[in-house]
Amino acid sequence: MNSTRAESYPLRRRRVVASLLADRGEMLVVAGLGTPAWDATAAGDHALTFPLWGAMGGAAMIGLGLALARPERRVLVITGDGEMLMGLGSLATIAVQAPANLAIAVLDNERYGETGMQATHTAHDVDMAGMAAAAGLPVTGTVESEAGLEAAMMALRGAGGPVFYTIKVRAEDLPLALPPRDGVELKGRFRAALLGQKA
């Protein structure tokens, strides 16, 4: 295990997520529990972002259900390496459905950041983008620096998918940016914004 390298990764997650969500247009967003949900909120709380406060391992599958229901809309899942590791089987499930409008961005700090920065399996070089490619996702990759970030963002925002990118980000403690906690409210505002007031 390389226990310190992530502390000097050049990419900073708040800026990566802010760029991913800039001018988001019609995009639907699911944010995994913990730091990714705070990152998404720091970029601007939004009715069409569904931030999770739990459901660890479920973010990509929520994205799949949404992508199948709304094939005309881009669906972006932003989640952490720990969260994605808990739901690796969903990569196989997503590959079978193969929705072109689904993209998953894993912010890989090689840590369970939210619970005290314990090393995740990716600190031991487990390659989740490789697993996604092996499952059959057509567009996958790992980005470690500014080089390649632009292309990865373009693919996440628009390429025919499913798209899966691991974005190696610095292991750093960041200020909290909390979305609403009430799940009924988060669900209701998302459906109202997407489906209209009748929802």
């Binding site: 479920g58 599958m61 739901g87 799940g183």
Partner: protein, 172 residues
Amino acid sequence: MGAPQWPGDIFRALVDLGVRQVAYVPDAGHSRLLDLCAGEATMTMVPLTTEEEGMALLAGAWLGGQRGVLLMQSSGVGNCLNMLSLVRTCRFPLLVLVTMRGQEGEANPWQLPMGRITGDLLRLQEVFVHAVDDEARLGEVVGTAGEAVFAGPGAAAVLIAQSLVGVKTFED
């Protein structure tokens, strides 16, 4: 004895409910219903690697305005407990059809622990449980449970008794 009627009854109830996403980890008892759903153009079949994926999937489906159903055997309920917190906290609709193992005549002792507590576990996570052993009522129960689920919204499970599904004997 001819093929049982109840898979067709449940299928028609699901069509009437407007179910679009059919998520499942297969059980022998669901075979006929799965075949019927797979032949229905308005339904998308979503095979899962583990049952909890289905709870998250159907939450996403509802966010996008679609209805779904989740099929599993009783052991699969144990795989779902934490994901039921998503359903409960956000009050997502959830309709689960569970084929029971571990009831009378079960020949596989490994099915007994989960089979004995399936209903209790679901109730602990505030899922409304309908245990059905009368095959004539299955279609109707799925229909009324589904209407309540999507109108509520809330969560309900229909437990299909092992006596209706048949007992696996492990004999050639």
